[in-house]
Symmetry: D2
């Protein structure tokens, strides 16, 4: 039985970790960390857990936690994990960080986009970027996993095989992404009020969203050169789901079947990636509550562009689900353990 600690268990991603781990056969949460609700019953904060979770919220003491659990999930604001982690802790426990602290290998890029001084630079090199389908073998051996961002997971996986096979001109790649509101977190902020979000759609963080360098870095590894692209997130009046619509010029003439074969080359054995049939567009609702990535694409001969579309549940494959998938890899569990969640419709 894997003993699990969560720091930040009362955010939306933290709550989703608790939901998913409740169905995991070989994991048990030993520590429900939540700075904001210390000593309150977890089920008083998340009432869905009434009579399921009996625990009380604990503080963020990572040193203490490291002595008690096999793995710590940090579902916390940027900077917190880096400020707490040290060699002593990592020698006792594994860490899966759901924040951005260890996602970017170039610390100057991190500090520039996040406006934070990185407090644990010595671990950046060691940290494994936990995009399971891409870095599976490295994840298995990791002590410290940087769990990818929600937009990033969806954006990268949607384009990855085509990038890898140099089917698209990277200088033309544009990612227009749409997210449900849980991605904004559970903080009590005016822009996230029901009446501000409902019946509304907007772009935000245009040309400045922090997931941009993360996408660029990872796609850069795939193709072996520096990538610069446009990424534009939008806020959609729904709780869950990310849809990424991606545009790029094709580098050569290809048919739908040829592109499908390229996707299959990378994803045919991937349980959580579903490449849809021709003419089918992914919809976020079809993956809600599950760890799936649904991918579809259309070739436009008029413009010689391909339009790739990917859909995930931002709290599952975009956060807690992928974190558990990483945990399974790190501990030799079946990769899908606890994650065989059937999407809920409607």
């Amino acid at each position: 039985m894997i003993k699990v600690g969560i720091i930040g268990s009362t955010g939306y991603a933290g709550g989703e970790l608790v939901r998913i781990l409740a169905g995991h056969k070989n994991a048990e949460i030993k520590w429900f960390g939540s700075r904001s609700y210390i000593n309150e019953k977890y089920a008083d904060v998340y009432r869905n857990m009434f009579q399921i979770v009996d625990a009380v919220c604990m503080d963020d003491n990572m040193e203490e936690l490291a002595t008690q659990v096999d793995v710590i999930f940090t579902a916390t604001p940027q900077g917190l994990c880096a400020s707490l982690v040290n060699e002593n802790i990592l020698s006792q426990t594994k860490i899966i960080d759901l924040s951005a602290d260890f996602r970017l290998k170039d610390v100057s890029v991190y500090e520039q986009w996040y406006k934070i001084t990185h407090q644990a630079q010595q671990f950046i090199e060691e940290a494994v970027y936990g995009l399971c389908e891409v870095n599976r073998e490295d994840v298995k051996k990791a002590r410290l996993v940087a769990n990818p961002g929600c937009y990033t997971t969806c954006s990268i996986l949607t384009a990855y095989p085509l990038v890898k096979e140099r089917l698209i001109d990277m200088s033309t790649l544009i990612i227009d992404a749409k997210s449900g509101t849980s991605g904004a977190g559970r903080g009590a902020k005016l822009p996230n009020l029901f009446c501000e979000v409902n019946e509304n759609i907007k772009a935000y963080g245009v040309a400045s969203h922090r997931h941009t360098p993360e996408i660029e870095e990872q796609l850069g590894y795939a193709i072996g050169e520096k990538v610069v692209l446009n990424f534009t997130p939008h806020l959609v009046p729904m709780n869950r789901g990310i849809l990424a619509t991606e545009y790029a010029k094709l580098t050569k003439h290809v048919t739908w079947e040829e592109v499908k074969a390229v996707y299959d080359k990378y994803y045919a054995g991937e349980k959580f990636i579903r490449v849809l049939n021709e003419g089918v567009c992914p919809e976020t609702k079809w993956v809600e509550g599950s760890n799936y990535v649904d991918i579809g694409f259309t070739i436009d001969p008029r413009t010689n562009r391909i339009i790739m579309m990917g859909a995930i549940d931002n709290l599952v494959k975009g956060a807690a689900g992928q974190a558990v998938q990483n945990m399974n890899l790190m501990f030799g569990e079946k990769e899908s353990e606890g994650l065989e969640l059937v999407p809920m419709f409607p």
Copy 2:
């Protein structure tokens, strides 16, 4: 392994049966009946099931089906199950009917409220009303189970212990219920269009909704006398969930703790019924995707009334979940098998 057939598998309740049974260890769906989509792939109708369900939709041939499966779920319009069922079928297989055909013992009441001539009156007496927490022992022995209505399940269970213990004056009982839109089914009807439902709330079927006699009959059995009450459903702009707010005069002075003890007397051992702490009101979101019934109540000393509130997911405890719970009872499975679904939030 229980072999399952579903007639009406492409309605919302049918789809939910498929979702839930996908996680059931000892059941396997052998027949995805759907008159509207015969020969189409099930996963083309419900894309959440892509790469999960490989089957093709079949017709409604209950005779044939009876020879192939151990249990048939009918998630079909009123009248269909009664028009198909016969002794030959029931001698070969069990039936769990999610329609109203066998819920009411008085056929004249059925025909009056549903405006349908009942075509299988000979099975009304035999049919067991499948409200598991109330009729568990009878369900275990049944060949034909009438799965309760969604509003009914929520309305009855919220009040049942107080009715049974004669704590409330039945002549004063009023049930004001609110439902998500999946309760209206997947038919392409103008009133169910997004733009008609969104940003809107209305009552409908006032003093004439068909779940009224069902609630009256069952609460009548509980108290041993004829019950007549007001039940008013409302349509809420959300996919899932029913909230029932119930008002009644108390027959004697009681404290919150005393009422809680009455609930506990009936529900303390019930896995799927959660009586909330004092001051907590149930919310449909806290049970979404699960088989739970959340119940709360407030005593108003100013009016000597009690306000009881119950919340369920209309597609789970209000339909498919309860149907699977009934199946588990009928086949000697663990009652909660396949139903240990943690509510999804947000």
Copy 3:
């Protein structure tokens, strides 16, 4: 031209005042008060007003304001208006208070339900309860109008003629109300976040909501005796709209037409009250953005109850619209000036 000042112009009710007054021929806003946004451009807070309103937000200085405007709207938290008003101010300007400070004639009831010490008790007697259709003549002569609460407006007007004509047994009256989320205000509070409200419905303030004594007092005046009733508000995932479903025993046998005649006796000449045809239930969407109250009712011969239903837009007839209607009466304007808003659908 009526010179208008608003204190609390950046709340949702304040914003709606600005929207409505923008279309009023004889009124001009001179002061956009907003403690939270002093010196910020109003159109930076409410971007719908970009290039429509050029003003900057001002503080809450009611003394100064009184010298500049003909009428002050206070769309502020409970207690603020009472803490600022005095004879000097009222001798210079009129006040329409959208808070509850002057709604209840019995100060002890106010202090008990609102947990605030009333700081201007000397004006309670003078204040006119601004339910225009009921108190029109008094409003015309008032210096200080207490603008009714949103739930209250809807609840009272839906039942008023039947109460007045003693058609219903007041001891049996139960009001089950449902509101959109703008009624909760624009404060950045966790329970009002999109993800907490969306796909959810709950009751709140059960047997304790502050609009209860206001409804009781006003209906008490109508019938000439003390009224005690149950009022239960619910939060609905939509921006605007209140639906009140009201239940009561009839005191005598009446037909639909007879009850309709009673409504017509009071409302036939009322522009903003629409009593719907037989069989039609009001829906909040049909009044959205307008000052209408839509009323429907059903008689249930089985229980001898009448079910009355009323729908309003909580920000218009439930707040800003009624406030402008009051202003029109106080200044001899056409009562509907600025309020001939056609409901927006969908």
Copy 4:
């Protein structure tokens, strides 16, 4: 007083025409055409119009209608207007066609994208494309106006000044658009059901949506050469609103202020176009219910792209509002008459 006839008055665009014209000082609707609801009271179909509109729905007899009214709005499916119009009709009345029948000058493009044989090709040349801000003078003299599509209006106006001034490389222009569900019309179709749209986002009509050639043709006129681009619409769970996010390479180095000056050159005098301040992104909610187009943009020096964003209410500026604006131009009315609608928030 302009006498108005509407064919298709019970669709969402038709209903919005009725709402807007109810506030127009010099126009009166004489004919509420609706093939589906002949002889039914209009206010029974759109209950928001109860006690506002007393008329009964009429058939589609354009010949008869032409003798009775000064202008006919056709808010009907593609092909209908072209099948009814003739010289006799146009000699008696003006027509504003909200369908696509006369939007495209190249009939082969129309027939290819719409799969309909055009039945009134003789009027294509004469028809004026009613994008008021671009073709104002031609509209004033027109007998037959082709009212632009919703996506088209938003997409063109957002980019128009930059196209006209050759600031962007047209071969790189990509339009990613998002629409509320009222754009799909009031037909009772499964994909538009509440439960299918709510909590969901998807692209549709990828590389094949019919508004593509309309955008291409109009932007082609602006720049004087053939334009081919990608346009991708998405369905968003909200009633109203279109947001277009547009990407293009800049043809030269420009500052935000320089681009703003280009917008101002074309739009400074335009009442209904609001170019937002630097750093502000348009949101559909800020224009809801109004005829405004809100435009914002960001220059990304990293990629040398500009990201332009435009927001409209699809039923107002995207349909009925622009149609009334055209009518005002055609009849010498003040262009904004009936259209001084303040956006409703929230």
